[in-house]
């Protein structure tokens, strides 16, 4: 038990280091802030869409892009600068390092997610359950952060741009199939089936229900699905990084 607590403390040190170093890196700002902002503007400007209707998608997209923007760049960056070797020389388990990376991505997503949330409060938009939305934001950002770090596991490259590009190839299609721009209930059955494999679907569905009272799945299912995706991504991240770590060091 003591060992576990010690390792968790060391995860926090890794996360704190990531916050200091990576939050202001160019790719993180571009993929985490600029992209979702412009995507949202491109969708909204010139179209007659009620804010209540678009806000669930905006909240989902913001959380998704920001929480997945830090993770893919950390490990390649640290491979290139050889600081990964420094971390691995310290008495920190690989899972604790990965957890630190996930935590720093999670916090970035959570902090930025507060912006659209604050917008709803400023504009006086009614929310059915504020606490549920906060909990949803926490689990969704955790899930997306784990996905972000997972996307850095393969290929074991030391070029951050490579993982950023590959992660974009995964992230953009997910945004389009997850009910961000078109609600899932308006999709054809095959679209709903595809949407069900995206974790973002469950978050936008949850937010839509909390804002507008309508959705595809019960909120409990959304929570469970996000939790299951989080666990699966976290386990896959640790396993995949374990397998590719030797290649990064050679």
């Amino acid at each position: 038990m003591n060992r576990l607590v010690e390792q968790l403390k060391r995860s926090l040190a890794v996360a704190e280091k990531n916050i200091k170093i990576y939050y202001l890196k160019g790719p993180v700002i571009v993929f985490g802030l600029v992209f979702p902002l412009f995507l949202a503007l491109a969708y909204v400007i010139g179209r007659n869409i009620a804010l209540e209707e678009f806000l669930p998608g905006l909240v989902g997209m913001t959380a998704f892009f920001t929480a997945t923007s830090v993770g893919p760049s950390i490990v390649p960056w640290e491979t290139r600068s050889r600081t990964l070797e420094r971390l691995l020389c310290c008495p920190v388990a690989l899972w604790a390092i990965i957890l630190g990376d996930v935590l720093s991505s999670f916090l970035f997503g959570l902090i930025i997610s507060v912006i659209p949330l604050a917008l709803t409060l400023v504009l006086g938009i009614q929310l059915l359950n504020f606490v549920a939305l906060l909990l949803g934001l926490v689990i969704a950002n955790l899930c997306f952060a784990a996905l972000g770090v997972l996307l850095s596991a393969y290929p074991p490259t030391d070029v951050p741009a490579t993982t950023m590009m590959l992660s974009s190839l995964v992230k953009f299609p997910l945004v389009f199939i997850s009910g961000v721009f078109v609600p899932v209930e308006q999709l054809p059955p095959w679209g709903v089936a595809i949407a069900s494999i995206s974790p973002l679907t469950y978050f936008t569905d949850m937010v839509r229900q909390l804002f507008m009272g309508k959705g595809v799945y019960p909120i409990a299912v959304d929570f469970l699905a996000l939790t299951a995706f989080t666990v699966a991504f976290a386990l896959a991240t640790i396993k995949l990084h374990e397998r590719t770590m030797t290649k990064r060091l050679s």
Partner: protein
């Protein structure tokens, strides 16, 4: 004394290449152990296995009493590592780097700050502790790496080419510190290309070549074992015909180096007498005459490249 490092039949393969081939050795507690070898010999791979970075394909290794494979975290808790290439965070300050490594080693907060201040002062970095490492010179980075390796007061220090490419002053400071920390009880595992450094610092050295240990002994014993690499060096006032020297049965090889003649032999005493006779017979004046023991570099070259490469 006990052993700080025990290595048994350690093997590591990368595809078809065997980087480390069933090597075995032991390092006593409090010893400075040199690990010499040409590029690609397996030095860094061995250090990476011993520091828990990569897993071997075979064999066993124990560091500070713990199995590297079974208890890598316990091993890492008791070691400090200075890698070949600087790996401090250049976007953090020296102070932040030290605190980060200290926290990752689980050093309690107050003790960590005290250790960090002490080390930064000791290595002449206290005044620049709040500067980003990006602005540091190579020597400063290397000193910081040693501070980072020492922040958790480790039992064993692994140093991979610590003075490579450093200016004379920084290299000397690091060597002095290595001696100082060794005297305070730390075991030092030193990988180096610098034979003079190994000669000065190491109690024993291992020479690794093509992934296998070619020799392990004290620098003195290694030199003594290579008696054929002893030579007598003489300078004459005139150019002499050296063919007669080569024909002497006690002479292994004759080499002209500038205005000097270098006569390799296992019996320097007889060769000195012979050279004096040779000078008399040929009307030569001896300007200098020295008997030379083989350097560690000579022994190293003999072990890694064979005798012919040395006595060309």
């Amino acid at each position: 004394m006990g052993r700080a490092i025990v290595v048994r039949e350690l093997t590591k393969r990368y595809g078809n290449v065997t980087a480390v081939d069933r090597i075995s050795f032991e390092v006593e507690k409090g010893e400075v152990f040199g690990f010499l070898g040409p590029n690609g010999a397996g030095k860094t791979t061995t250090i990476r296995i011993l520091t828990g970075l990569i897993k071997p394909d075979g064999g066993k290794a124990f560091v500070a009493g713990y199995d590297v494979l079974e208890d890598p975290i316990e091993v890492k808790q008791r070691i400090g590592v200075v890698p070949e290439v600087s790996n401090a965070y250049v976007d953090l300050t020296a102070w932040e780097n030290l605190l980060l490594v200290g926290r990752l080693c689980g050093v309690p907060s107050q003790e960590l700050k005290e250790n960090a201040i002490k080390l930064l002062k000791e290595f002449g970095l206290y005044e620049v502790k709040d500067k980003l490492v990006r602005a540091f010179s190579k020597g400063m980075k290397q000193r910081l790496l040693l501070c980072m390796a020492l922040i958790n007061d480790p039992e064993v220090l692994f140093l991979d080419e610590p003075t490579s490419g450093l200016d004379v002053e920084s290299a000397r400071l690091l060597r002095e510190k290595i001696v100082e920390y060794n005297k305070s009880g730390k075991t030092i595992f030193l990988s180096t290309h610098n034979m003079e450094e190994a000669n000065q610092l190491c109690h024993r050295v291992a020479v690794i070549n093509h992934g296998r240990i070619a020799a392990i002994d004290t620098p003195e014993n290694l030199r003594a074992q290579s008696a054929e690499l002893q030579y007598v060096e003489a300078a004459f006032d005139k150019v002499a015909d050296l063919r007669e020297l080569s024909e002497n049965p006690n002479v292994v090889k004759v080499l002209s180096v500038g205005n000097k003649v270098r006569v390799y032999t296992v019996d320097p005493h007889t060769v000195v007498e012979f050279l004096v006779e040779f000078a008399k017979r040929n009307g030569l004046r001896i300007l200098t005459l020295n008997t030379m023991m083989p350097s560690l570099e000579d022994v190293f070259l003999k072990l890694v490249k064979g005798r012919e490469a040395v006595i060309r």
